[in-house]
Assembly symmetry: C2
Homo-oligomer: 202 residues x 2
């Protein structure tokens, strides 16, 4: 069984993925994919992370509500990163029994018919969630935070749509779309896990 | 608890609603609403049904792939129908403990915080489902059937969007979106029912 989780920034998609993997006894892949891509391309891990977050090449990163210039990387490294990402995700997919969060895995593994989940929430809930999980010292205004959330989702959409017939967040590309604004992620997991198994059968 | 089901034509939304109501011990409302609207407005039931299906006034109905002229009704009856629909759905919502399929109930009952589900499927699955359930003697080409499905969904969208901030089928207006293309509706119901209860709590 392969489950892919796409998610709006701040919607709790990563929590859904991690808990779902635990409930179903599946391997969980998320940020460690960035480490693997960095190793494989011999690029700096932060750089790979920023490129994937921003949806392609930029000579600056958007962080803590400010633009910070990037010192490494060229447009050519983008293809290296994308090639490595595809190769690594395909290898994970072939092993099977996993939950993969982000990284366009739904599109890259389309032939293996993963159960495709999209997690989203209203803006208020996402802001609240980001605030609760903000790193020490982050001091963004709501406006800066919302702008950052939008930028990140724009980057996710940009990279995802490179690989998919379905636009990121468009229902037709998913089996299940879950709004986390009015529910507690921890408590829905057992039911969601059972539901996911039914999608896997067919 | 109030559950509203919006659905693409042919996606099995009505089956999801009926089975969910049975599983949760809730009242189920669907086509009988048309009967009640017809009684309340003293209009012909078929006419009310066609107006609601087409999303407003037309002097013809689209049926069996052909346009058939309508003999009754004027643009003025549309408001009568909408007023009656709203009144009847509000009364049902106030009693609570129900599943309502269609009729913009998600928007009309927004203040009562229903659990809002959207059921959809890919075109191929919807065509297949329509064929299996076609009335005796229906003999549409795929092209005609697809055109009819689109017209009906266009009508649903039109009426829904009169009452809602969220466009019909847009994820932000729903708590859960369910793609029935690759699953068996009957087998997912127990899990879906549990999931719905968790959305109700919050």
């Amino acid at each position: 069984m392969i489950v892919t989780i796409s998610r709006q920034f701040g919607s709790g998609g990563r929590e859904v993925g991690k808990r779902l993997a635990d409930a179903l006894g599946l391997e969980y892949y998320d940020k460690q994919l960035v480490t693997e891509i960095a190793k494989s391309t011999e690029l700096n891990e932060n750089y790979v992370s920023e490129v994937l977050k921003n949806g392609g090449y930029r000579n600056y990163v958007f962080s803590f509500g400010r633009s910070i210039p990037l010192v490494s990387g060229t447009p050519n490294t983008i293809t290296d990163i994308l090639v490595a990402q595809q190769k690594i995700i395909k290898a994970i997919g072939e092993k099977g029994d996993c939950v993969i969060v982000g990284r366009s895995a739904d599109a890259i593994l389309a032939e293996l018919s993963p159960v495709r989940i999209f997690v989203y929430a209203d803006q208020e809930s996402r802001v609240k969630r980001c605030r609760e999980r903000a790193p020490e010292g982050e001091n963004l205004t709501d406006k800066q935070l919302i702008r950052q959330m939008r930028e990140i989702d724009k980057g996710r959409k940009k990279l995802h749509d490179l690989f998919s017939n379905y636009p990121w967040g468009d229902k037709d590309g998913y089996d299940l779309m879950l709004n986390t604004s009015y529910t507690n992620i921890k408590s829905i997991i057992p039911h969601l896990a059972s539901l996911v198994c039914d999608f896997h059968v067919n």
